[in-house]
């Protein structure tokens, strides 16, 4: 005599078979569609990101981990917009949220300022971010160095550039070329060499293709220009 289909000994196997069928028949096909929908989802997540003060409370003191999560969101946001319209209207808010949660996250200041400057053309926003980074991390050379670079390359404000290169020069771990730049700025010479050296240093130390791409573009521009007559 054959056992009924829903015999207690068969139920576990039936349940497992049903679970497998649902997983591969429904869950996996639905998940395959996720990448196509992800763009809109990411924008929503960025727009709905709570303000930093609320995130500080919600993260229950795990501020570093919360800053990392927002940073990963910012990376996805930059990557998404680099691949599409190359506009970054929410970037400033994202980066400011990261550094509000974790004021010692130096790369967030420097990379954030770089993308604000070259991605959105918001040089003043980039400078404000770097100044905040320099204040929060007085022993780190990166924010004053990037301030000097921005004043030198983008704003041609050599007095401010000299000031920030001098600040960088006093800090531990600063790049070897900084004293040379300070000397050149005092002598008001070597503008093109300094610019090329700054961009090459950025290209060589870049941890992402995005930053390397910006540096290579600027190097190509400078190399295309004729050397100034001495």
């Amino acid at each position: 005599m054959s056992r009924p289909l829903l015999h207690p000994s068969r139920i576990p196997w039936l349940a497992l078979a049903l679970a497998g069928g649902l997983l591969f028949g429904v869950v996996v096909p639905l998940q395959r569609q996720a990448p196509a929908l992800r763009g809109a989802g990411l924008e929503d997540r960025v727009l709905l990101l709570p303000p930093p003060a609320a995130l500080r409370v919600a993260s229950l003191g795990f501020h570093g981990a919360a800053a990392d999560a927002v940073w990963l969101l910012a990376i996805q946001y930059i990557g998404g917009h680099l691949a599409s319209d190359r506009k970054f209207p929410e970037l400033k808010r994202l980066v400011e949220t990261v550094v509000a949660l974790d004021p010692h996250f130096v790369d967030a200041y420097t990379l954030g300022a770089l993308f604000l400057n070259y991605g959105t053309g918001d040089v003043a926003g980039g400078i404000a971010l770097l100044e905040r980074g320099a204040r929060a991390n007085p022993m780190r050379w990166e924010p004053p160095h990037d301030l000097a670079r921005t004043y030198y390359l983008d704003l041609k404000d050599y007095r401010q550039a000299l000031h920030w290169f001098e600040v960088t020069d006093r800090l531990p771990g600063r790049p070897h070329y900084v004293p040379r730049f300070v000397a050149r700025l005092y002598a008001m010479t070597g503008e093109r060499e300094t610019a090329l050296e700054l961009w090459r240093a950025m290209r060589d130390s870049a941890t992402s293709d995005w930053v390397r791409e910006i540096a290579e573009r600027e190097i190509a521009k400078l190399e295309g220009q004729p050397a100034p007559a001495r």
Binding site: L60, G64, A65, A67, W71, L72, I75, H104, T207
Partner: protein
């Protein structure tokens, strides 16, 4: 001797509890996932592994402290094993201390394993040892000892569900007490400010045991700060255990 026997029994019982392994499995999963997440972070691999590793170890350690801690006394009452124990020549405070030490021993093993995992992963990603991670885990362990003492205090007079809720509330307040104080200083009126200041002084300040950010960035930490935090933690644990003993001694088990 009696305390040791109870502590070892509690430890053996705790390591047989399925909930411990479930929580540990999730902790390992999250710590492992930090390595994958770190690869997407543009040069922040080591920071993310250390941040998420320390946060996971702390959070899951708290879950273990709460979910095992709340059942320490109530389970004994439920199973009626407590009646047999209190009838023996043993002080109630010895029973409670044994239970506490047993759970702290369990936490030491589980948090120790998680800390070693984070330490090894950070070395793999960073290419150099960060011994400070072990100090950060050790201080966080003190915070977990406070949470365990809170859980055992509530479990002496309340049901497991209520104890879990109360302990979780104390954990949340403890993690945020520094922020609450600064909010009060900025926005509250004089009355509310005084009330919040009073709460800040009496409730456990778990934010004192967080040195993770200093370790992740290699910032200097004053040894006096660490020692004062340790002294504060040990004193707070003693206060909680004494209150728990006071309540437990007076409790009628008829």
């Amino acid at each position: 001797m009696k305390i040791t026997a109870i502590a070892l029994t509690t430890f053996r019982e705790a390591v047989r509890d399925r909930i411990l392994y479930t929580i540990l499995a999730f902790a390992f999963l999250l710590i492992g996932a930090s390595v994958i997440l770190a690869t997407l972070s543009i040069g922040q691999e080591a920071k993310i592994v250390k941040d998420l590793g320390l946060a996971s170890s702390s959070l899951f350690g708290t879950f273990i402290a709460i979910f095992l801690g709340i059942g320490l006394v109530s389970k004994e009452i439920e199973r009626r094993t407590l009646y047999a124990i209190v009838a023996k020549p043993i002080y109630r405070f010895q029973f409670l201390l044994g239970k506490y030490i047993g759970l702290v021993l369990t936490l030491l093993v589980t948090v120790g394993v998680m800390a070693l995992l984070v330490f090894a992963l950070a070395w793999t990603v960073d290419g150099r040892w960060t011994p400070g991670l072990l100090l950060a885990s050790a201080l966080d362990f003190l915070a977990l000892m406070i949470v365990t003492a809170v859980a055992i205090l509530f479990s002496t007079f309340s049901t497991p569900t209520l104890s879990a809720m109360f302990t979780l509330a104390v954990f949340v307040i403890g993690r945020l007490s520094g922020d609450l104080r600064s909010f009060a200083e900025q926005f509250a009126g004089p009355g509310l400010r005084q009330a919040l200041e009073g709460m800040y002084l009496i409730l456990p300040d778990l934010s004192r045991f967080q040195i993770g950010p200093h370790i992740v960035y290699g910032l200097p930490i004053a040894s006096t700060e660490v020692l004062m935090a340790a002294a504060y933690g040990l004193a707070y644990i003693l206060v909680l255990l004494l209150v728990a003993i006071g309540i437990f001694e007076r409790r009628d088990f008829k």
